[in-house]
């Protein structure tokens, strides 16, 4: 049963920030509410004030620039991202990730910013954004801050947002040449969240095919989305072979700190990391060779 609350529906970012600054801890922000309303119904979250920012249209946009990359407003829906020609053209991994996020109904109403701020370590967008080296902007009445997506999540359902601060934009840099990213998640029911999610981005040298840079981002295996930095180090600067990818998968499976729950045991999650890092790494490598 949802507890009663007072409801505000600001139409501009300024109004939203003013209300959020005023009511702070007593309030919650709702965007699409596809995660929050479930928690409210379970009685896990019971705000006195609900600030509904879904109608703040200035935060709903996708803009791309061939040099600067992509900028996505925090209130852009999953479905808009999935269907965006700009994203299907230049950032296909984002569209692929969105297509497997929950159901069409949820993607039609839920927002990318809401998903990230909910900070569920099993969420799909964060690992992909971390692999893509994405940054984000937050705003409060005091001004703006920028940070890497990988620094945003601090713990289960906890973010770096401070009092009165809202996530406003996600930036994805234009990829260097010969770079490509792949993502997959393991789940039992197609519209479920990840039991384990793996995103890998690889940058190859222009002629030699040597791995210049690699980012391996994992979901649902730690309190926050995380990078497997030791596994990355095992591949960086080398010509990637299947054996090396296998080794990287093994290293990654020792870096994670998964829990056991009804979806999978800790051991099984480690096994999934081992297999999926290799598999997704292979896919990213094949794509990078063509990029």
């Amino acid at each position: 049963m949802i507890r009663d609350f007072e409801y505000f529906a600001p139409k501009t970012l300024k109004e939203a920030l003013t209300l959020w600054d005023k009511y702070g801890d007593e309030s919650k922000i709702i965007a699409g509410g596809q995660s929050l309303l479930i928690l409210m119904r379970q009685g896990l979250v019971a705000p006195e004030y609900l600030i509904d920012i879904k109608g703040v249209s200035e935060l709903n946009y996708i803009e791309s620039d061939s040099k600067k990359g992509l900028r996505i407003g925090a209130l852009t829906t999953h479905r808009t991202i999935e269907k965006s020609p700009v994203i299907q053209d230049g950032f296909i991994v984002l569209a692929e990730m969105e297509r497997r996020l929950a159901s069409i109904q949820t993607r039609n109403w839920g927002t990318i910013g809401g998903n990230i701020c909910h900070a569920d370590p099993a969420g799909d967008p964060a690992p992909v954004l971390i692999a893509l080296n994405a940054t984000l902007t937050t705003a409060s009445l005091k001004g703006e801050r920028n940070m890497a997506v990988e620094d945003f999540c601090l713990d289960y359902f906890e973010t770096a947002l401070e009092h009165g601060e809202l996530l406003t934009e996600i930036q994805i840099p234009a990829a260097p040449p010969h770079t490509s990213t792949a993502y997959t998640k393991f789940n039992v029911i197609e519209s479920d969240m990840a039991t384990v999610g793996v995103a890998v981005s690889i940058t190859l040298g222009s002629s030699d095919g040597i791995c210049q840079d690699i980012r391996i981002a994992l979901g649902a295996v730690a309190p926050t989305p995380m990078r497997a930095k030791q596994a990355e180090a095992a591949l960086r600067g080398k010509k990637i072979t299947d054996n090396l990818l296998k080794e990287a998968g093994e290293i990654a499976s020792t870096e994670v700190e998964p829990i056991s729950d009804m979806l999978a045991s800790e051991e099984y999650r480690r096994e999934l990391v081992r297999v999926l890092v290799r598999r997704v790494g292979k896919e990213a490598l094949a794509r990078a060779k063509q990029a």
Partner: protein, 159 residues
Amino acid sequence: MKKELRLTVNGQPYELYVKPKTLLVEALRDHLGLTGTKRGCNESACGACTVILNGMAVKSCSILALQAGGGEVLTVEGLARGTELHPLQKAFLDHGAFQCGFCTAGMLMSAKALLGENPKPAKEQIKEGIDGNICRCTGYNSIIRAVTAVAKGEYKEEK
């Protein structure tokens, strides 16, 4: 404290007063008496509460009614024209796409939204289109056959 909510449901404008915590499914069922939309799991998993809001399929158990303010909602009651069933409804009947019928309203609305976006979906696209709707009798094949028949133009919409 109740708030004013104006929205259009099945072409009919409504003005009602709801508590902010009222979900869209509650506004439709409990305030407007449109009980065709079903409340199943109540946590965004089953899709029985699917309605079309501003052209998009959404789960009405997971949207505050106030968030639909100013919007246009289509529910299963809005599919037929008078006594003339919608092509999807006819196809569901002909293909026996019901067992207990609890998922039907949601399935119809997801199928309607799918055909609105893509009038000629392939079988895989139909499966994807109803991916957010669970039929606990597992009668998916007959549902897919019914949607396929409409997509193939076997049921013309009477004007």
